[in-house]
Amino acid sequence: MLGVLLLLQVVVIVGIGIWLFASIDWDRVADVSNKPGQVQLQTSDKSVLKGFVRAVLFTVYFLGPVVLSLLAGLGFVLLRRRGWMLASVAQALIMLACLFYYGASRPWFAYPIIAYSILMILLLNSRSVRAVVHRRRLTPAEASSEITHGE
C-alpha cells in the first residue's frame, strides 16, 4: 500500500513536469545550435522564457526526490519493508522544494503536492508502519536514561 502511494506520488510529480514542458510554446523557440551534441535555444517571448525557466527549475528541484521516491516505492512493493529512509528523505526534499516554491512564485501545483506529502509523512511515521519497518532495530538497550536530580 505504502509503495503504491509512493509510486502514485512519483506519477503525479512526473505528470506535472511533463505538463510544464508541454505547455511551453515550442514554436516560439528557435534552435541556434551550431555544434553537434550542443543545444542552444533562443526566444524573444518573455512568457515562453518564464515557462521554460519554471519547467527547468521544477526538474532541478524534483528530480532527486522523484528518483528516491521511485526507489523507495519499488523497494516497498518488491523487497518489502525496505526503503523507509529513502522515502523519508524524499518527502523532506519534496516539502523543501515546495516551500522554496511557496517563497518565490507560489505555483498552484505546490499545494496539492504539499498536502500529499504531509499525508505521506504521517503515514511513514504511523505506529503501524514504523512497527513493521523498524521491528528488528528496536532493542531494550534504547531504554531511556535516568532522570535524577544531581546531589
Binding site: A92, S117, S128, H149
Partner: protein, 621 residues
C-alpha cells in the same frame, strides 16, 4: 517508624560486619569513606542568620562531635554549617596546595592515577542539552558555588588524614521496621568533587551516601538478607532496590558489591558509565503546550513513539552529566586489598546525629542547593527529618512487600478476610435478589393499569437501581473468587520454593551507557565540544551577511548542522522523523493560510453531511 528496640550494640555490630558491602571505586577518585570525627575536629562551625553575615561560633581545632551536637546559637532561620579549614600559609592555595596534595601520593593509600573522562558527556546528548549546559555553566558564575581553592583545601586535609593513619570506615546503624531488620551503612566523604574532578554538576564539602541491607528473621531466629538499596542522587522507591537473588547484584560471599561513581559518590549495582540528567521543570504554560502537542501527536495522530506514550505529571528539560562508576580503582571491603576498619556504630543513637541539624560543609546559598553541603544522616538540608531515616522501608519501596517469613501468613490472613467478605456478599446478593424478584412481580401486576401508572414508574426505577446493585455485588464476588484463587496458587508456588521474578518491581532500570556508545571516535567528541559555538557563530554570520536570503540560509545551515549531529550520534532515523514533522507542520500552515476559507467551508460541509448521514441512518432503522 524505624526503631532500635530489641537491638543491642553487639548484635548490631555483628550484623553490620556480616553483610558489610564491598565497594569498587573509579580510578582517579580522591575521597574515600572515612570516619566523620577527624573531619569535624578539623572544621570550624559557622552560623548564618537571615540578612546577617556568617559568624564563626566554634573555631577550627575546638570543635568536637559532642560540641557539634549542642548546635550553639540556634535561632529561627539560622543555618549552621561546617567549614573545611583553608590550607596553612605554607600549604597555600593553588600551585603549592596541588604540590602538597601530590606529595601525599607517596602514601600508599592515596590515588596514583588521575581521572580520565573518556568520551565526553556532551557527545552523548543533543544541541538543546549542550546549549542548556553552556547556560548552566554561565549561571554557575552568578549563583553560589564552592570556591576552587576549597577542593585543594579538602584534598590537603584528606591527605593529612590519610598520613595520620585514617583508613576506611563506615557509620553503621541497625533499626527494625515492619518486620524488617534494616542495616544502614552511612558512608562519609570529606568532599564531593564531581564538578571539578569529573566534569559533573556540582562540588560540595562533605558527602553522606548510604547503602541499606534489608534482612528478615525466620521463626528459628535466623536472619537472611532479602533486599539491598543503594543511594544514587535523590532517587527513591522501587527502582532503587534489588533482590538478594537478582543477577545484577554482585556479591562476595554475603557481602553485596557496589560501584561508587567518581566525584559524586552515587552508588550503582553494575560497573559502567551512567548518563545522569539534572531535570528542571518547564514553566507551567510551556509545560501545558508541550503536553497538548504530545497528546495530539501520539494519541490523536497515532504517531510512532520509541517508548510507550504516557502522560507526564510535569514536563521538564534536562542537562546531562556522566556518572563514572567504572570500578577500576581501589576496592574496599572484605577480601579486598583494603578492608574496612571497625565501623563507627550509631546504636544507641549518638547525640551528634540527632542534635546537629546543620550542614556538614560550606553553605554557598546556591538556589539549586547542588553546591551546598548536605545535612547529616538524619536530616534534610531544611532541617526536616529525612525519609530514609524515619522510614527506610518506605524509602526503598518495601512498605508493600512482606518479609519471606511473613509471606504465607499475609496470604492466609488475606484469604480469610476475602472468605468473610464473600460470605457477606453472598447473603447480600441473596437478600437483594429476593427483593428484586418481589419488585418484579409487583411491576408485572401493576403494568397496564392506568390508575397505578405512577406506582409502576416508581417500581421500574427501584428495579433498575436494585438490579444495578446486584450486578455490582456479583461482579465484586466474582473478583474476590478470582483473587482468592490467585492467592491460593501464589501461596502454593511459595511453599514449593518458587519466587516471583526478581526484577518485576523495577520500572525504570538504570543502565550504564553501552560499550558501543562509549567507544565513539575523537571526531565525535571534538564535534560535541565545538558544535554549540559553531552554531552560534554561523547564525551570527547569517544574520550579519546574508539578510537577503535569511530564511533559506537559516534553513540550510540548521539542516546541515542537524544532519552532521544525527550522523555522529547514529540517529539519522530520529532526525529524519523530526525534520519531516517540522516540514509537515510548516506545510500545513501554508495550506491553512492559502485555503483558509475553503477549509472552513469544507469543515462546515463535513459537519453538515455527518449530521445528515446520522439522521438518514436513524430514518432507515
Amino acid at each position: 517508624m524505624a526503631n532500635e528496640a530489641g537491638l543491642d550494640a553487639r548484635n548490631a555490630e555483628a550484623l553490620l560486619r556480616r553483610f558489610e558491602p564491598v565497594i569498587h571505586f573509579t580510578k582517579g577518585e580522591w575521597f574515600y569513606p572515612m570516619d566523620c570525627e577527624p573531619y569535624v575536629d578539623a572544621c570550624s562551625l559557622w552560623v548564618r542568620r537571615p540578612n546577617e553575615d556568617a559568624v564563626c561560633v566554634v573555631p577550627s581545632g575546638e570543635l568536637t562531635l559532642e560540641r557539634l551536637a549542642q548546635q550553639p546559637e540556634d535561632t529561627t532561620g539560622a543555618v549552621h554549617y561546617l567549614k573545611i579549614p583553608a590550607p596553612k600559609q605554607d600549604e597555600n592555595r593553588g600551585r603549592r596546595a596541588r604540590r602538597r596534595a601530590r606529595r601525599s601520593h607517596t602514601n600508599p593509600d592515596w590515588p596514583k592515577e588521575t581521572f580520565r573522562a573518556g568520551r565526553g558527556r556532551l557527545a552523548r546528548v543533543g544541541y538543546i542539552s549542550r546549549l542548556a549546559d553552556a547556560l548552566f555553566s554561565l549561571v554557575l558564575l552568578a549563583r553560589g558555588r564552592v570556591p576552587g581553592g576549597d577542593v585543594e583545601g579538602a584534598r590537603v586535609l584528606y591527605g593529612r588524614f590519610m598520613e595520620e593513619g585514617q583508613r576506611f570506615r563506615y557509620h553503621g546503624h541497625v533499626v527494625q521496621q515492619d518486620g524488617w531488620i534494616v542495616l544502614r551503612y552511612w558512608l562519609f566523604y570529606a568532599f564531593n568533587d564531581w564538578r571539578s574532578n569529573v566534569f559533573g554538576a556540582n562540588d560540595h564539602e562533605a558527602d553522606w551516601e548510604k547503602i541499606f541491607v534489608f534482612l528478615s528473621e525466620s521463626e528459628s531466629g535466623e536472619v537472611r538478607p532479602e533486599w539491598v538499596a543503594y543511594a544514587a542522587h535523590e532517587e527513591t522507591g522501587d527502582d532503587l532496590r534489588r533482590r538478594w537473588d537478582d543477577p545484577e547484584l554482585e556479591k562476595v560471599g554475603e557481602h553485596p558489591v557496589a560501584y561508587v561513581c567518581a566525584g559524586s559518590h552515587a552508588t550503582r549495582y553494575s560497573r559502567g558509565e551512567y548518563l545522569t540528567e539534572l531535570a528542571f521543570p518547564l514553566p507551567r504554560a510551556l509545560s501545558a503546550v508541550r503536553r497538548i502537542a504530545r497528546r495530539f501527536w501520539y494519541v490523536t495522530l497515532r504517531q510512532y513513539a520509541e517508548e510507550e506514550y504516557a502522560e507526564r505529571p510535569f514536563e521538564e528539560f534536562t542537562i546531562p552529566f556522566v556518572d563514572y562508576g567504572r570500578g577500576d580503582g581501589w576496592s574496599v571491603g572484605p577480601g579486598q586489598d583494603r578492608e574496612w576498619d571497625p565501623p563507627r556504630l550509631m546504636n544507641p543513637l549518638p547525640s551528634w546525629v540527632s542534635g546537629y541539624r546543620g550542614l556538614w560543609g560550606l553553605y554557598t546559598r546556591d538556589p539549586f542547593e547542588g553546591e551546598d553541603a548536605p545535612a547529616g544522616p538524619m536530616y534534610n538540608r531544611d532541617k526536616t527529618i529525612s525519609r530514609e531515616w524515619f522510614d527506610p522501608v518506605g524509602w526503598a519501596g518495601l512498605d508493600k512487600v512482606p518479609t519471606r517469613t511473613e509471606e504465607l501468613d499475609v496470604i492466609s490472613r488475606r484469604r480469610e478476610e476475602i472468605q468473610e467478605r464473600r460470605d457477606l456478599l453472598r447473603s447480600q446478593i441473596r437478600e437483594k435478589s429476593d427483593r428484586l424478584k418481589t419488585l418484579g412481580m409487583d411491576a408485572e401486576a401493576t403494568r397496564d393499569r392506568s390508575h397505578l401508572s405512577k406506582l409502576y414508574e416508581t417500581q421500574r426505577r427501584d428495579i433498575e437501581e436494585l438490579s444495578q446493585e446486584v450486578e455490582e455485588l456479583r461482579a465484586e464476588l466474582s473478583e474476590d473468587e478470582l483473587l482468592d484463587e490467585s492467592l491460593r496458587d501464589h501461596a502454593e508456588r511459595l511453599r514449593d520454593g518458587e519466587r516471583p521474578p526478581a526484577r518485576a518491581h523495577i520500572t525504570h532500570p538504570t543502565r550504564p551507557v553501552s560499550e558501543t556508545e562509549t567507544r565513539a571516535g575523537r571526531v565525535a567528541q571534538l564535534w560535541a565540544s565545538i558544535s554549540v559555538a559553531a552554531v552560534l557563530v554561523t547564525l551570527f554570520l547569517i544574520f550579519a551577511y546574508e539578510r537577503q536570503h535569511l530564511l533559506s540560509a537559516l534553513v540550510f545551515a540548521i539542516a546541515v548542522f542537524a544532519f552532521i549531529e544525527a550522523s555522529f550520534r547514529r540517529r539519522l532515523t530520529r532526525f529524519m522523523v523530526s525534520a519531516n514533522i517540522a516540514l509537515a507542520i510548516v506545510g500545513a500552515l501554508v495550506l491553512i493560510q492559502h485555503y483558509y476559507w475553503q477549509i472552513i467551508v469544507l469543515a462546515v460541509l463535513g459537519v453538515g453531511f455527518y449530521i445528515l448521514w446520522e439522521n438518514l441512518r436513524e430514518l432507515g432503522r
